[in-house]
């Protein structure tokens, strides 16, 4: 399978007459773009903004981030989600780099939504403060979940994907700045030199905890709660097979942009043929029932062993209950003789003294740990807020609260905030970007 990603580097975004890219300047026809957003009658109100690194802007409640793309030769950017099913990861896709489409609720947030500061002290907590962002701020008529802490955010997330496809289509007739090729030979057809290198599988545990449809990450449109671990080509993940869900406390969440660019996959590709033999991805999940966890671990270990993996990397999208899957999977792999490194974040409490993962095992002797979800963060007022600041305190964001006996509400009258890292949008970057690590004090 061979994927060519044609990259167009976006240096600046502006609004203008024609949606187009020229010399790194992305011009967006706002009216046309908003018409695409409003194709769904559930969108009741929508506006677009442009934010860049250094802007005095705070975004909250942020629901999703997507990289604008265009599938050369036709077909949806997200097969099985924004269009018919087709093979992802084989062929050419164009990508607009250094930018994302961010989706922000006009009013209402929830457990799974987060916050981004584009400048100041808060900027270091998210990856998206480093990007140019086209921001969709919108509201919907999904009254049934308006006051619910857990929201599917269906209309908003799908609007974001449509918008990303619309923006992506602006480059369809252009020549990319650069083409990156991602190609892995079939597992049994690799050269002697490659076969002699230690082989590695990447085990991904995307979020799948909700029994009811509409909340979990989707794999080609299929609810990850309803799947057993399956072997995937890494190109499929990089090319739109996986989309983010709407459930996990936000700093632990993997956005759709995160899947499209998954740094751990890119790194394994970079090492492939040099230090390792990258076998592929085992896509597992994080279902809640113990039996489902055990079954998933069993499947992962068997698959890795049958593939002849010498080693594995396991990454979890979540903490708490999912730690049991993370630990269970690592233990199953180690028991199968596969040398495993785990990639996660921790919940050590506001004082840092709590047990880092819910479930621990001495076989987990190699872990890269990207953050503490419960670290308290205080940030000053930001000039401009896109969305609604009060959502952080009012709507049960995983790192916000409306009343705390000692700390008061998350949002102060002067516009400053106090929150847990939990609500930083995809902040722990367990997909591989994180330059944070956990240490003992």
């Amino acid at each position: 399978m061979k994927l060519e990603l044609g990259n167009f580097y976006v240096k600046e975004i502006c609004f203008g007459d024609k949606t187009s890219l020229k010399d790194g300047l992305l011009t967006v026809n706002k009216e046309e773009a908003l018409a695409v957003v409003k194709e769904d009658e559930h969108i009741t109100e929508a506006e677009l903004y442009i934010v860049s690194p250094g802007d005095r802007v705070r975004l909250v409640p942020v629901k999703e981030a997507i990289e604008p793309r265009y599938r050369v030769g036709g077909g949806p950017v997200f097969p099985g989600v924004t269009g018919d099913l087709m093979q992802a990861g084989n062929g050419t896709t164009y990508a607009l780099k250094d930018m994302s489409v961010l989706v922000v609720g006009r009013h209402y947030g929830g457990f799974q939504d987060g916050l981004i500061d584009m400048s100041g002290e808060g900027a270091k907590y998210t990856y998206y403060s480093q990007l140019k962002n086209l921001v969709l701020v919108a509201d919907t008529d999904e009254i049934f979940e308006q006051k619910e802490q857990q929201k599917k955010n269906r209309a908003l997330r799908w609007a974001g994907m449509r918008l990303a496809e619309y923006i992506g289509a602006a480059v369809k007739d252009l020549i990319p700045d650069e083409v990156e090729t991602f190609e892995l030979e079939p597992v049994t057809k690799r050269s002697k030199e490659i076969n002699e290198l230690p082989s590695v599988v990447l085990v991904l545990q995307p979020q799948s905890q909700m029994e009811e449809g509409g909340y979990n990450d989707l794999n080609y449109g299929w609810d990850t709660n309803r799947m057993l671990p399956t072997f995937m080509h890494p190109n499929e993940v990089l090319d739109g097979a996986m989309i983010s869900g709407s459930f996990m406390p936000c700093s632990s969440k993997w956005s759709t942009y995160d899947f499209q660019n998954l740094p751990m996959i890119r790194k394994l590709y970079k090492e492939h043929g040099k230090t390792i033999n990258f076998l592929g991805v085992i896509m597992s999940n994080l279902n809640v029932a113990l039996e489902q966890k055990e079954r998933a671990a069993l499947f992962v270990a068997q698959m890795a062993k049958s593939l002849g993996a010498d080693s594995a990397v396991v990454a979890e999208e979540g903490y708490g209950n999912p730690d049991a899957d993370f630990t269970g999977c690592i233990v199953a792999l180690e028991n199968a003789g596969i040398k495993t490194v785990g990639l996660t974040n921790e919940c050590t409490g506001r004082d840092g003294a709590s047990q880092p993962l819910v479930s621990l095992d001495e076989k987990e002797d190699a872990i890269v740990s990207c953050g503490n979800v419960s670290t308290l963060i205080r940030l000053p007022k930001m000039e401009t807020v896109l969305g609604e600041l009060e959502a952080l305190a009012r709507d049960g964001l995983s790192g916000g609260w409306s009343n705390d006996e000692i700390l008061g509400a998350s949002v102060k009258e002067d516009g400053s905030i106090i929150m847990e890292n939990n609500a930083m949008f995809c902040g722990d970057q367990v997909v591989g970007w994180s330059v944070k690590r956990m240490v003992e004090f």
Partner: protein
Amino acid sequence: MKGILYLNQFFGQIGGEELADFKPEIREGLVGPAMALQQELGDEVQITHTIICGDNFIGSNTEEAVETIISMLKGKEMDVFFAGPAFRAGRYGAACGHICKAVKKEFDVPVLTSMNDENPGVEMFKKEMYIFKGGASAAAMKKDIKAMSKFALKLLKGEKLLPAAEEGYFGRGMRDQIWLDPPVTAADRVIDMLLKKINGEPFDTELPIPKSDRVAIAPSITPEDLSHMEVALITSGGIVPVGNPDRIQSASATKWGKYDISQTDDLVKGEYMTIHAGFDPAAANNDSDVIVPLDAMRRYQKEGKIGGVYKYFFSTVGTGTTQAEAARMGKEIARELKKDGIRAAILTST
């Protein structure tokens, strides 16, 4: 700023083992190692007093010694407190730990000590104070004092503190995130660790697995005993009377509530609900017995399988709640139950 140092009878120049019963004394100015400490601290911090106590005395009369020393310190200006270094001396290490702990609690000032990693005082007290990694004997005095005082100055000036391993003290079990400088991405760190693990080279995990803290499973109860016993219901599933009277948090809970069910047989919709933010609440809001199975317990009670149901059920929220908070709440609830002679409980999670 002002500081005070604690020493044992030997370093306090009272005498050796034969004078280890020496009762606590406070002296103005510098005694023994206090001079070296003052030298390292320079003009920033003045060591105003030295406290001296025999190792045996504090070992056998810990409470009395600690109380005496605390009363000696009352009214003294103090911004920081030092003890030792204790090197490998076990009794001296324990004494430094006890005193530092009490001073921190009473006066809320930073407390620092230094011990060798084989000193049992390290395991006893490292979670509660800065214990610097010291030498095995007094030969390391200058170096150990330097390490303590250097850090004390950073602490007092409010400078950025580095992780335990870099500052040189024993980790206090408090984990937090730092930004790597220069930045190294998690993906790069994974590959580095993976290659080392594959090649059998040493590597440093970023999450050393702590020793597990398991509670032994209690001996089983016979059906005969159970038929006479009241059973308590406890949940981390966030079931509360509608309105959440105790305002238990929906995530990262620090509170628990107890609710009278002595006159209740069924947790009906509209009267009870869940406030837990970590799962789909539909089923629990429709019938809270799916999480706190009071209806089933009442049936068992009628059938004579259990003696009864304890008059309160206890509830908190498990999602995002730290292990430390959970353990504290568990202990508090257990105390209530024991007080009422309850010996059996069902703990439901979600």
